[in-house]
């Protein structure tokens, strides 16, 4: 399964967005059956949209339509559900893996 990461732009993130993004990327690279692909790639199964605050500027139609599924981190939340900053990594990885399992 192909996963890409897309950042909102990081104007004033309320979480350590860049750090979390890098950790997500590292964790996904180690996961079996998952390949981290560039955000410009045409075959993206899951787009992880990383936004620094609840405004979620990265959550745009033009970005969503490039992948079958999207997971949106927006400050301390994942897909609108509150998640503490320390748990964002595990939540995202868990979501990606469940989509991967469903696909296989």
């Amino acid at each position: 399964m192909n996963v890409a990461l897309k950042y909102c732009g990081s104007c004033n993130p309320q979480i350590e967005l860049s750090d979390i993004g890098h950790k997500i990327e590292e964790a996904l690279q180690e996961a079996p059956d998952i390949e981290v692909v560039p955000r410009s790639s045409k075959a993206i199964d899951v787009m992880v949209i990383l936004c620094g605050c609840p405004r979620a500027c990265g959550d745009k139609k033009r970005i969503r339509k490039r992948a079958s599924h999207c997971i949106v981190v927006a400050g301390e939340s994942v897909d609108l559900v509150p998640v503490a900053e320390k748990d964002l990594l595990s939540q995202v990885i868990q979501k990606v893996k469940s989509l991967s399992t469903a696909k296989s």
């Binding site: 897309k6 950042y7 732009g9 990081s10 104007c11 004033n12 860049s18 955000r39 500027c57």
Partner: protein, 486 residues
């Protein structure tokens, strides 16, 4: 091409040979001189951050001319979302540099000239707009860093350009040729001008028919014959050239943008690079549109800087053991309040932006001027609070050379310590960063950059609907009506 990287920009600077003077010396290589390196680093970040996944969404966009991906700083805004994006990008850059990155001035000039050339052509049947669009395509293709050169020395402020005893106090056309024009005069305080690749010269004030020779807008490459750059001094600038690192405070990106006096001693400009020549009745429109775009910026970049300053002040309070004191917490909260007030202003004037006849968007002029007028106050107040929390050592701390001295260094270290578990060096570095951000040049830039406070007040006076405000009051006070009892 459309987008280059920071090192490409540095290489492009090496290829030009501008005439630059600093401290009585002619500078051989701007790119390699310690006085300019921080400013070059800061501008280079506007290129590199555009390639970073974390910042790409803010610092890149699509050209409305070619459809290609371009750096934000060569873009002409076509929506309120574009205007908001600029403010957010400036905040992000301010957070990363803690300084000025200088590219916004030329960017704002591009936006203002794009619309004014359209309006001039519509009225006069000239072809400035097409000429400018061709030029803009070139700028976008090369991702070229240009400065915006608006402010003239002005001489006697009570006189118009054409009334000055010395006609060179305002840049003016001294000769019109078949293939171009010759200009003379000077532009003062031009940010980023020694590390840009060219200057967009614009008129600085509204003009009358007698000032027609002064209504000139054109592009001049930095190495044009007859163009001289005289770099201005900044507070503590000798620290950049004396082997200091810690004492510079922000050695990588410096303090503000690096301003210079530009002298145009009969500089030839080909017609392809002339975008106004004698259209005195459009000078004010150009000034107002440029000023609006530039004043809109200040609640973006300055707020990014304020994020750094507040962080430094908070960290210093922790090191000094005062972070939990109620008055310190209150002052830190006040710093955030002041900063976010400015951000609110910039976001608001962007949201209230509107389309111009050329199709591009400008921020709301009244709200943009309010933004900048607040900057002239709030940045000073934030700096005062930071200095209050920092303490007197901010102004009396021994140099890094004494701290590193084999004999007396141990005393500087011992008596510069705060909390026992934090090295003295940490406290010293934070103090130097705060010193650079709040003492001297950085403050004056907040006052006069993008125009002095009175310039904002004049715009506010012009843009406020006084008669309607009066009518609102008269209606409620039942003035001019027979009172009705309910």
């Amino acid at each position: 091409m459309g987008m280059i990287r920071g090192d490409d920009y540095r290489e492009s600077l090496r290829r030009v040979k501008p005439e630059v003077y600093y401290m009585g010396e002619k500078i051989d290589s701007v790119t390699d001189h310690p006085a300019f390196i921080p400013h070059i680093n800061s501008a280079a970040l506007t290129y590199d951050m555009a390639w970073a996944p974390e910042f790409e969404e803010l610092l890149t966009t699509k050209s409305h001319l070619t459809g290609e991906k371009i750096n934000l700083f060569t873009h002409v805004h076509h929506s309120t979302d574009d205007l908001i994006q600029k403010v957010k990008a400036l905040r992000a850059l301010g957070q990363q540099t803690g300084s000025c990155f200088a590219r916004c001035v030329g960017h704002d000039a591009l936006n203002a000239i794009y619309s004014v050339t359209f309006d001039m052509d519509k009225k006069n049947g000239t072809d400035y707009h097409k000429r400018f669009v061709d030029f803009l395509k070139e700028i976008q293709k090369e991702d070229r860093f240009i400065s915006g050169a608006m402010t003239d020395p002005k001489g006697d402020r009570s006189l118009s350009p054409s009334q000055q005893a010395d006609p060179d106090q305002y840049v003016h056309v001294v000769e019109k040729k078949k293939d171009g024009i010759v200009i003379r005069g000077a532009k003062a305080h031009i940010t980023g001008s020694v590390n840009a690749l060219g200057h967009m010269v614009m008129p600085t004030a509204s003009m009358k028919e007698t000032d027609a020779d002064y209504a000139v807008c054109c592009y001049v490459p930095v190495d044009a014959p007859g163009l001289i750059h005289i770099f201005g001094r900044q507070t503590n600038d000798d620290r950049k050239c004396s082997g200091c690192l810690m004492d510079q405070g922000n050695p990588e990106y410096g303090i503000v943008g690096g301003e210079a006096l530009l002298v145009f001693e009969d500089v030839f400009v080909p017609w392809e690079q002339v975008f106004m020549c004698g259209e005195y009745d459009f000078a004010f429109e150009l000034v107002e549109r440029f000023a609006t775009a530039h004043r809109q910026n200040y609640g973006g970049c300055k707020v990014g800087l304020a994020d750094v300053l507040t962080g430094a002040t908070y960290a210093l309070a922790e090191v000094q053991g005062t972070a939990t004191a109620s008055h310190v917490r209150d002052k830190l909260v006040e710093m955030v309040h002041l900063a976010e007030t400015l951000y609110c202003c910039s976001i608001a004037c962007s949201c209230q932006g509107y389309a111009l006849p050329a199709g591009n968007f400008m921020a709301d002029p009244l709200l943009a001027n309010i933004t900048k007028l607040n900057v002239t106050r709030n940045v000073y107040e934030m700096s005062r609070l930071a200095q209050d929390i920092a303490g007197g050592l901010l102004a009396t701390m021994p140099s890094e050379f004494d701290w590193g001295d084999t004999k007396i260094g141990k005393y500087v270290d011992k008596y510069s310590k705060g909390a026992t578990d934090v090295p003295a060096e940490t406290r010293m570095r934070l103090l130097r960063l705060i010193e650079g951000m709040t003492c001297g040049t950085a403050l004056v830039e907040s006052m006069h950059g993008a125009g002095s406070p009175q310039a904002q007040r004049i715009m506010i006076m012009r843009r406020s609907n006084w008669e309607r405000k009066k009518r609102l009051a008269q209606k409620l006070a039942k003035i001019g009506e027979q009172p009705k009892l309910v």
